[in-house]
């Protein structure tokens, strides 16, 4: 075991994957010599060379398009899109190509590409460095979507993603790269070193895709969330002194609906929290699915806690961010008689 922050855990995952499997290549803007703007790929080029840790032009469509070609030709590319906000020029390659190649060729071709991309706000990134577009990708048939909330899961999920023969868009909540964040920007930052899930095995292990994690057990209400919001939800439940069961979805597609519905059938109440905008967001899918499976257990309407349906405003970041207050209000609504 070692103390790792999420960046180190992701780096370790790629290091191990490259070491174990010569077909794994890492590619993206600034990932090679420099080691990535967030340092996630630090040292990989030194260790594995320029052919396996590849600096690319600033062209997301090109990065994803060439990664697909590499995947078809037997490599296992791990492509970094520097910010999730920049992924859209490659959207067609993800949606029309990567997601559907196996399908349209009836299984004769596939591309085991993992796209890593930092997402989310809370870093004063304004509207072009703060988005959480996971719902857009989860909506696409044929893409696996993952978002870890801690270093341990980040490493295990990334290794599982790289090993998967199906494509993965792997969202990394950058606000919690260096430490958990409970939604209060005024409190001093804390690192991962004191967090139990900052304890990360140095060796190989995987956290399978499609398995949600019950972060905290409780009886009165279920909070379904992922990414940064897991920590905000924990803090909110503590602050409101609510006996909440908190579930970290981790894998948005495939979704471990069973863990979610088991919990909501137990508590009868549900709050869904994500940082992304609300309208037609991933929370809507969660809400609808939970309602379909838990309707007669529900004591109150399912609540959604989300960012507003606006771009992420630079100056009003903390007005936008769905912090503890917004979660507590939703908990109160969900806990009504």
């Amino acid at each position: 075991m070692a103390k790792m922050n999420m960046i180190q855990a992701l780096n370790s995952a790629m290091d191990i994957a490259m070491d174990r499997d010569p077909s794994v290549v890492v590619m993206g803007e600034d990932v090679g010599y420099f080691g990535g703007v967030f340092r996630c790929t630090d040292g990989l080029q030194r260790k594995y060379g320029e052919h396996r840790c590849i600096d690319t032009p600033i062209a997301e469509g090109g990065i994803i398009g060439t990664a697909i070609g590499m995947g078809v030709n037997g490599l296992r590319p791990v492509a970094e899109i520097q910010f999730a906000d920049y992924i859209y020029p490659g959207f067609d390659q993800v949606v029309s190509e990567l997601a559907r190649l196996r399908y349209r060729s009836a299984g004769d071709f596939y591309a085991p590409v993992t796209i890593r991309t930092p997402c989310g706000g809370g870093i004063r990134g304004g509207q072009t460095h703060s988005q959480s577009p996971e719902g857009i990708f989860a909506h696409v048939s044929g893409i696996q979507v993952v978002m870890p909330s801690n270093p341990y899961d980040a490493k295990g999920l990334l290794l599982a993603s790289i090993e998967s023969d199906d494509p993965v868009v792997f969202f990394e909540p950058k606000r919690i790269y260096n430490g958990p964040f409970d939604g209060d920007p005024d409190k001093p930052a804390v690192g991962w070193s004191s967090h139990p899930q900052g304890e990360v095995p140095e060796g190989y292990y995987t956290v399978p895709l499609g398995q949600a994690n019950v972060v905290r057990e409780g009886n009165d209400v279920t909070i379904v969330t992922y990414g940064t919001m897991v920590h905000v939800a924990e803090a909110a439940a503590r602050a409101a002194d609510v006996d909440a069961e908190i579930i970290d979805v981790r894998s948005l597609q495939p979704l471990d609906l069973e863990t979610l519905t088991t919990s909501v059938n137990k508590t009868g109440r549900c709050v869904i929290a994500h940082e992304a905008t609300r309208f037609s967001g991933y929370g809507a899918e969660l809400s609808a699915s939970i309602q379909e499976h838990c309707f007669y257990a529900l004591e109150a309407p399912i609540q959604r806690v989300t960012g507003w349906d606006t771009p992420y405003p630079h100056a009003f970041e903390w007005d936008y961010f769905p912090g503890q207050k917004r979660i507590i209000a939703a908990l109160e609504a969900a806990l009504e008689d």
Binding site: G268, F295, Y296, A297, L298, E299, D337
Partner: protein, 420 residues
């Protein structure tokens, strides 16, 4: 041949919605301009809507009891000529989400804001028989065979809470399928009455008033022997063209003088702006029982009316209210309300303020009873006055002082007519 789309207009005072009372036309009918086509219920009034055009009814949008938002399509007419406004109707489909076309931007905003709520209400109306409760309570009741329609709900809008069901079961509430429950239900003969129309308005206004206004009630007895004598004299000596006086015109005259002295009592509260509006004029509402329930026709500028004119007003307005023919403006704009249950007896009432007013005057039954006067027991005609005030804006001391002032006028009725 074209089409004319008639949208529900604002029927006054920023009305945002109205309930369809009764259709006077059906699809296919030929109507002339100004023919009455529909009764709409707003606030407390049945408002007759005259046809805006001459033509044939192509379609009617909504049924009796439906709530229609201002600006929504109400009637489509087939009309001759090019004066049709179909273009507008296409631009604004008959859906609440679409922005209603209203002449003033302010009204438009209001209408847009309330539209979704209107839909929700309409839905509730159509499924009013359904009990309100959570899916979990429903499932529990179903499992235990309990008919939720007989379980009293203590939540908002009568919603059955989990604990209501528990209490119902604990209190011996029986499954509907059991013989006992069925028998109870049969002997009970529960009739369902949809809370619609005037009743819904009353219900809403009453609960709002009780929820929002901290009521302060004050009661005193008034010796109206002299007051009654004056009234009888006036009736005995009136000319043939004058109406018979009841207590009310004289009471209103006394109230007009009282309100001059206590302007804080003749007021309305604008909660949105947090402003109390003190009225110089007295617009007195007369609580009137009708077959639909309570209505409050209003005598505007009562301070400027003679007692005879007031008597005429009271007669005319109460009849209009009872017949459902009161005009919109006759049912709105009161600054204080008088409610009288005197005819039925009773010694005290705790009247509920007719929001947004800040006070209400309740008149109790006048009875002859022995009182001590100047050391002797004498028989006097006594009447209790029960007033309620909005304690946020009228202090107890002022309310009491106001009642004492009114009491003085009523006990020495000549002073009603003596200028200050």
């Amino acid at each position: 041949m074209g089409q004319y789309v008639f949208k529900l207009p604002d029927l006054g005072e920023g009305t945002v919605e109205a309930e369809i009372g009764e259709w006077h036309v059906k699809v296919g009918d030929q109507v002339n301009e100004d023919d009455v086509i529909v009764d709409m219920m707003t606030d407390k009034a049945a408002v007759e809507i005259p046809s805006p055009v001459t033509g044939r009814i192509a379609s009617l949008h909504g049924q009796q009891g439906d709530i229609v938002a201002v600006g929504m399509n109400l009637i489509v007419f087939d009309v001759d000529g090019e004066s049709a406004n179909t273009a507008t109707s296409e631009a604004t489909p008959d859906a609440p989400q679409a922005a209603p076309t209203a002449p003033e931007p302010a009204a438009k905003t209001v209408a847009q804001t309330v539209a979704p709520e209107v839909v929700a209400n309409a839905n509730n109306t159509s499924t009013n028989a359904r009990v309100l409760t959570s899916p979990a309570v429903r499932a529990r009741a179903k499992k235990q065979g309990i008919d939720l329609s007989v379980v009293p709900g203590s939540g908002a809008r009568g919603r059955i809470l989990a604990r209501d069901l528990e209490q119902f079961i604990a209190g011996g509430g029986k499954p509907a399928s059991s013989t006992v429950a069925v028998t109870n239900l049969e002997t009970d003969e529960i009739e369902e009455h949809k809370v619609i129309g005037v009743r819904r308005v009353i219900a809403r206004k009453m609960s709002e008033a009780k929820r929002n206004i901290p009521h302060f009630t004050y009661v005193d007895e008034v010796d109206i022997t002299e007051f009654n004598a004056l009234r009888e004299h006036l009736n005995a000596t009136r000319s043939a063209d004058k109406p018979k006086l009841t207590f009310l015109p004289l009471l209103i005259a006394a109230l007009a003088k009282t309100m001059k002295a206590f302007p804080q009592c003749n007021a309305t509260y604008d909660a949105e702006r947090e402003v109390v509006l003190r009225h110089k004029a007295l617009h007195v509402g007369i609580a009137t029982q009708t077959k639909d329930g309570l209505k409050v026709p209003v005598i505007h500028q009562a301070q400027a009316r003679s007692i005879w004119a007031l008597a005429d007003d009271i007669k005319r307005l109460s009849e209009a209210a009872r017949n459902g023919k009161a005009k919109k403006q006759e049912l709105t704009g009161s600054s204080i309300t008088i409610t009288s249950l005197g005819a039925l007896g009773g010694i005290v009432t705790t009247p509920v303020i007719n929001s947004p007013e800040v006070g209400i005057i309740g008149i109790n039954k006048a009875v002859d009873r022995p009182v001590v006067k100047d050391g002797n027991i004498v028989v006097r005609t006594m009447m209790n006055v029960s007033v309620s005030f909005d304690h946020r804006f009228v202090d107890g001391y002022d309310a009491a002082a106001m009642v004492q002032y009114l009491k003085g006028l009523l006990e020495y009725p000549a002073t009603i007519f003596v200028p200050e």
